[in-house]
């Protein structure tokens, strides 16, 4: 595993310091993105103030893509290596991706209400994004259902991890469909600007605000991931998972004798 991930999820003083550094970085980037997006970036000529929702909507969507790509990578790594840590990483990334997809749909609906004049349209981008949310919510539900049926822990057992890894790989098929939906089919949603092969004009101050917001969202997501992994490791990560009762604080403290 990458050293940064090990450091960030390590249950040590060094790990905690790394997480604090990430938190300060994410906070600083968020303040910079807020100031740039709210004050420095100009008002859009056609959309007015509503265009500023881009600085929330686009980072949420991109980092959700990133999280689902991480689910794909971690699921593949689990299938190859069989290490349950990869399975827990896939679970944590899927949780983050689902939350961010919901944020993207929510902010997009409000942006659509302000600029298009409708909260929702049966447009290829909107429908495929809703399917993406459904697919990864289904992935998390599958994990839970398997855990409940087998009586195993979600993230600590191969009977859950293996089918989940297959679903985690298959689910990523939807991501390119979502991204290219606006090119493959005629849609109401506008096409990409920054990720377009021939970049359409965007004011440099707007582009700066957008990139800062994406950086802030990525750092924030990484921080949430580190804390989530730490909790999952404390709960499920023992050398072997014994069926005997353990203390709530996990493997750091020895069980108290009453």
């Amino acid at each position: 595993m990458r050293t940064t991930t090990v450091d960030l999820t390590a249950d040590t003083a060094r790990g905690a310091a790394a997480r604090r550094t990430t938190a300060w970085t994410a906070g600083g980037l968020a303040v910079a993105a807020g100031l740039t997006g709210g004050l420095l970036a100009p008002t859009d000529a056609t959309q007015g103030q509503a265009q500023r929702l881009m600085y929330l909507h686009v980072p949420a969507a991109w980092v959700a893509y990133l999280a689902f790509a991480a689910v794909l990578a971690a699921s593949t790594a689990y299938l190859i290596r069989g290490d349950l840590r990869w399975d827990r990483l896939a679970r944590a990334c899927a949780e983050i991706g689902v939350a961010l997809t919901a944020v993207a749909i929510g902010t997009g609906a409000y942006w659509g209400h302000l600029v298009w004049g409708t909260w929702w349209a049966w447009d290829s981008r909107l429908v495929s994004t809703a399917l993406l949310l459904l697919a990864y919510t289904g992935y998390l539900a599958l994990r839970r259902a398997l855990a409940e049926r087998t009586g195993a822990a979600d993230g600590g057992d191969r009977r859950v991890a293996r089918p989940a890894a297959v679903a985690g790989v298959a689910g990523f098929l939807l991501v390119p469909v979502v991204h290219f939906s606006v090119i493959w089919w005629r849609s109401l949603h506008q096409q990409a600007t920054i990720l377009a092969p021939e970049r359409p004009p965007i004011d440099p101050r707007m582009a700066l605000a957008l990139l800062l917001a994406v950086a802030a969202a990525s750092a924030g997501a990484l921080l949430v991931l580190a804390h989530r992994m730490l909790r999952l490791e404390r709960r499920l990560g023992g050398p072997t998972v014994p069926p005997a009762p353990r203390t709530r604080t996990g493997r750091r403290t020895p069980a108290r004798v009453r």
């Binding site: 959309q47 265009q51 005629r186």
Partner: protein
């Protein structure tokens, strides 16, 4: 608990039903709107409710009581639209819009819903003509 072959059949039936539902729902969705030339050349236009998209022709927009009348153009073809109800604030000439309704026998498109379709270009509003009063 259903036994394995039964369970497989159930999953297959559910998947097939789900797939059918999704594809039939997506048929109209994959192409969100039709262009003026597609609507004008389609002999069945006027029978079904469709969405029509194009650029609001500059100079064609006028208000007639409750109705808003304008022309939508794309690739040299134009359709006159009679819209019942107020369009969104961002609706203006020279921008794209998508209307929903039916092509009438008189060749005028009767719409009851209009959404604005904006591009992927972002420019600052010129200070001489601020788009909104609280523009910074």
């Amino acid at each position: 608990m259903i036994r394995r072959p039964g369970r497989l059949a159930l999953v297959a039936v559910l998947l097939a039903a789900g797939g059918l539902l999704v594809t039939s729902a997506l048929r109209d969705t994959l192409t969100y709107y039709r262009t003026p030339s597609e609507v004008l050349t389609d002999p069945d236009a006027g029978r079904d409710r469709v969405r029509l998209g194009g650029e609001v022709v500059p100079g064609s927009l006028r208000r007639d009581g409750e109705l808003v009348v304008f022309r939508l153009a794309d690739a040299g073809h134009q359709v006159t639209v009679r819209q019942r109800g107020v369009p969104p604030e961002t609706f203006r000439e020279g921008e794209d819009a998508v209307v929903e309704g039916r092509l009438g026998v008189d060749g005028v498109f009767d719409a009851d819903q209009v959404v604005v379709r904006h591009g992927n270009e972002y420019r600052p509003s010129s200070p001489a003509h601020p788009e909104s009063p609280d523009a910074r």
